[in-house]
């Protein structure tokens, strides 16, 4: 039940939480019970989820931009249709997620304001430009591939509405990753210039994709509590390792090289090792210093401003019609 008027009955952040309430809540989590919108929950659990789900929704919505950039220049009708469908899916994912966050007592309008004002963040990956068609392949393969690794465990998240939204999202992401890899395969098997374009895209998207899992476990502020609440099921580093292990052989199949001289198979660990990551750069991009941060928010603001009259007109029409219908009764 997503009804907005009913939620937040017990969500007053100022209400004192007794040890007993907290223990009972944790016992439900430990028993793998799902928490639903109107159930009692600690204010911090609610706050963490609002932050995470809205950030996730914003990422989907902002993520439409780097790919939308290539819709009109896709190399064939099939590629254009599939890219358009993918971008539409991202919009849909954003909407499922905004709806899930709304069950926690925040309105979609508040979330949109937080995005536009910079108060809310989104995935730093979308602050990089899509310079060539190969970037569309690399995004589908790497960015959506990393997103899937992150999102599959979220289907089992303790908060019911988020978990259900993620089930839908994951089903659709699989198409995204496969269409990306197909683009990469075509380029990698094409003319030398095409293969070079694919390698260049991999060079630019690899590190940001590996960083999508967030800071290392040693520096991750929110990780421990989120694991205890079963919002998160695996740590950032565990998911990152899983992504690297799955993706390096896929690059090998394409005949492309992962741009990390330290990336090699570790037979003892049965994993691929990777070199150190520049987390200062990551934080710089998250906080607004990436190549595209300003353009992304400006484009979002423009779409919002230009859509305002449509929302107002639709509401005016609905109000006028309901008056007419009442008069006719």
């Amino acid at each position: 039940m997503y009804a907005q008027g009913l939620i937040n009955a017990s969500g007053d952040p100022n209400a004192a939480e007794t040890t007993e309430q907290l223990a009972r809540f944790q016992a439900r989590i430990d028993a793998e019970e799902k928490i639903e919108a109107r159930d009692w929950m600690p204010a911090a659990y609610r706050k963490t989820l609002i932050r995470q789900i809205s950030q996730h929704a914003h990422s989907e919505i902002i993520g439409m931009q780097p790919e939308g950039n290539w819709v009109t220049r896709a190399p064939s009708l099939r590629r254009k249709a599939s890219l358009l469908a993918k971008v539409q899916d991202e919009g849909g994912h954003g909407l499922y997620l905004y709806a899930a966050a709304e069950t926690l007592g925040i309105s979609r309008e508040e979330m949109q304001d937080q995005l536009l004002s910079g108060a809310a963040k989104y995935s730093s990956i979308f602050n990089y430009p899509t310079l060539t068609w190969a970037d569309i392949g690399a995004i589908g393969w790497l960015v959506d591939g990393a997103a899937i690794m992150n999102q599959i465990p979220l289907c089992r998240c303790s908060y019911g509405p988020y978990a259900r939204a993620m089930v839908r999202v994951c089903k659709e992401e699989s198409f995204h990753q496969r269409q990306g890899y197909e683009i990469m395969t075509t380029l990698a098997q094409g003319a030398p210039a095409q293969k070079a374009m694919a390698q260049d895209a991999l060079n630019r998207w690899w590190t940001p994709s590996v960083m999508m899992f967030g800071p290392p476990d040693t520096d991750s502020v929110h990780s421990d509590q989120s694991m205890t609440w079963k919002i998160k099921r695996f740590t950032n580093d565990a998911l990152r390792q899983r992504f690297v292990d799955a993706t390096v052989p896929q690059a090998g199949y394409l005949g492309l090289t992962v741009p990390d001289p330290d990336c090699k198979w570790n037979d003892a660990a049965q994993h691929y090792d990777i070199g150190p990551l520049d987390w200062d750069d990551f934080w710089k991009v998250v906080k607004g210093g990436g190549p595209m941060n300003r353009q992304r928010i400006a484009a979002r603001q423009k779409a919002d401003d230009e859509g305002a009259w449509v929302r107002e007109a639709a509401l005016a029409y609905a109000a006028k019609r309901s008056v007419l219908m009442e008069a006719a009764e």
Binding site: Y2, Q4, Y96, E110, R164, A165, Y317
Partner: protein
Amino acid sequence: MSDRARLPLWEVFIRPRNGLAHRHVGSVHASDAEMALMAARDVYTRRGEGRSIWVAPATAIAASDPDEKAEMFDPADDKTYRQPTDYHVPKEVGDM
């Protein structure tokens, strides 16, 4: 607080195919029922997930209170005489 126009919330129910009941799938914001149906179609049925859509204003749904779960549902738990397995049928009679 935002000054943007607030579109009402609608709950979306989809029938995957004839023979099955409509099932709650999520919600959309829209100015009226017609727009809510269009939004629900675009958001929730991009891959043939449905053959019929219902939308209802979220404010029109009344829900039971989770804090009263016990009073509401426990009385059904100890009435095993409502279950077929509560009754003994002689083996000779066979399946019933």
